[in-house]
């Protein structure tokens, strides 16, 4: 998925000379084409995440469109205060690209896992947050966000499945992947294919859930969720992220203020770091975020 992003950004950069790419020494093998095509617009500023974010802010104030690319904990948490002041508060057109959402960098350990980034970024005013669930969403989100002037965080994960979203994508508009009834599965990022597989399992039991891709987590599609509540859906959220402050929390906030009752469950990481040694998939299994674990948690 990160390669799809890099290819899309390269195409966008051919059309928009304001686009620049900053990396604190990440993206080996991923950003090479951009670097070769636009050497003057590619900046490896060294392992200096805080400074990279301030530099991006300065470039944006000066009319450019900088993208800052790194692994999530380094491009979000390491420089969160720079994001807060130089990007969010100053409302600069900086695009923050975090790769390795959830447990994607499984074997690398929790220092490299992106499991609390949505919560932190959601709290920042002016910030748009997107998490594509398939490569089609990745391409469309890259293109759509390139047109905005808003501070934006794009959370990139894995892709080892087919295209699930065949809708026209609009930012802040949930995509209905499958229309069903009574049960709504709302997924973001890496969990979209898992939720899709779960939906297929439910169908075998003659249960037809509605499957929704929430590719934009902020501003969230409130209207879509309110409709689900009004229509009496039982709502499940799926995210490879802590259940505190992410997609599940965003949906819970809407339910809580709707004045109506809804049956609701958050599927995600239950307020824990991984100390598991193993691949991403192995860790997902331990956290019950694979299809088997999701069935166990939901049924």
């Amino acid at each position: 998925m990160r390669m799809v992003f890099a290819d899309t950004l390269l195409e966008l950069a051919k059309q928009d000379e304001r686009i620049c790419l900053i990396t604190p020494d990440m993206g080996y093998g991923i950003l090479d084409k951009f670097q070769k095509t636009f050497p003057k617009r590619y900046f490896n500023l060294g392992i200096t995440e805080q400074n990279c974010m301030s530099v991006a802010s300065g470039m944006a104030l000066n009319g450019l469109k900088p993208y800052v690319y790194s692994i999530i904990p380094f491009v979000v948490h390491r420089c969160l205060e720079q994001i807060r002041v130089d990007v969010s508060y100053m409302n600069t057109d900086v695009k923050i690209i975090g790769v390795g959402s959830g447990f994607e960098y499984g074997a690398a350990g929790a220092t490299h896992h992106g499991t609390e980034d949505i919560s932190m970024m959601r709290a920042l005013p002016n910030m748009t947050i997107c998490a594509p669930g398939d490569n089609y969403e990745m391409v469309e989100i890259a293109k759509l966000t390139a047109k905005t002037k808003d501070p934006t965080y794009i959370r990139i994960g894995r892709h080892n499945h087919g295209i699930l979203n065949h809708n026209k994508i609009e930012l802040s508009k949930a995509s209905i992947i499958e229309q069903g009834k009574e049960i709504a599965l709302i997924a973001t990022g890496n969990m979209l294919p898992v939720a899709y597989d779960f939906a297929q399992e439910l169908k075998k039991e003659n249960i037809n859930p509605t499957l929704i891709s929430m590719h934009t987590i902020k501003p969230i599609d409130k209207e879509c969720i309110l409709k689900l509540i009004n229509d009496g859906y039982k709502i499940y959220t799926f995210e490879e992220h802590t259940i505190i402050g992410g997609l599940g929390s965003a949906v819970a906030e809407i339910i809580a203020e709707s004045g109506q009752k809804a049956t609701f469950k958050r599927i995600g990481i239950n307020d824990k770091y991984s100390h598991v040694v193993g691949s991403a998939q192995y860790i997902r299994e331990q956290f019950k975020l694979d299809i088997k674990g999701v069935i166990e948690q939901c049924c």
């Binding site: 060294g46 104030l61 000066n62 130089d86 508060y89």
Partner: protein, 260 residues
Amino acid sequence: MHKKIRELILKCANRSKASHVGSALSIVEILEALYFNVANISKDNFNKPDRDRIILSKGHGSLALYATLALKNIIPMEALDKYLVDGGVLPCHIDMQSANGLEASTGSLGHGLGIAEGFVLSNRLKNINSRIFVIIGDGEFQEGSIMEALNSIGSLKLNEITVILDNNKFQASAATKDVADVNNYEKIFSAFGFDVESVDGHNVDLLTKALNKKSQKPTAIIANTLKGKGFSFMEDTLESHYIKIDDEKMKIGLTELENV
């Protein structure tokens, strides 16, 4: 001009009863030299892409900047009446949306150098060769992000950047020398590839001369200053960071200014 800037600072501080007065008073001559003698910034070009830029990275010294911008007719003199009062216009720490001529929102320390680097890298892409001046504090120099920025600016030889270190020798809670090694500024700047010069930070002519020097490297100017400069009741004290200018202090202060 520095006399006029100090008078405005004193009056604003009296009206608002705000702190950080000492932090503003130490950079008065630096701002005079920059805005009136060196930088290409005026009421006619402050929005033009090719202007020089001044970033007050030690954003808590904002009062001196507001006073200077008012004297440059970049912000209206009346805006100073609205410094840090309820429903006012100009905040204690700089919000770039609050008035013209503010290049960045600062107040959290250690941000200005990176933003300056972003200005220069983007200017180079646009073939603009303007100068970027960043005023940092001696306490601010302790921030880790400063080291990241110096390393990067020095490595990339961004000679459009001039850093002015306001060496007023006090930070928020202590004398700077009691917290960090204050004898290594020159060594650190040099090691990162800067040309370095130490000057009397209250001598406008010497500051102007130092600021006008051209170099192939980025430049650092250690401006040796006094916190709370110009007023006997706070000069060279830690307390000047917090002092409230009541009517009596203002009266004494204005008399002292007249007698300079």
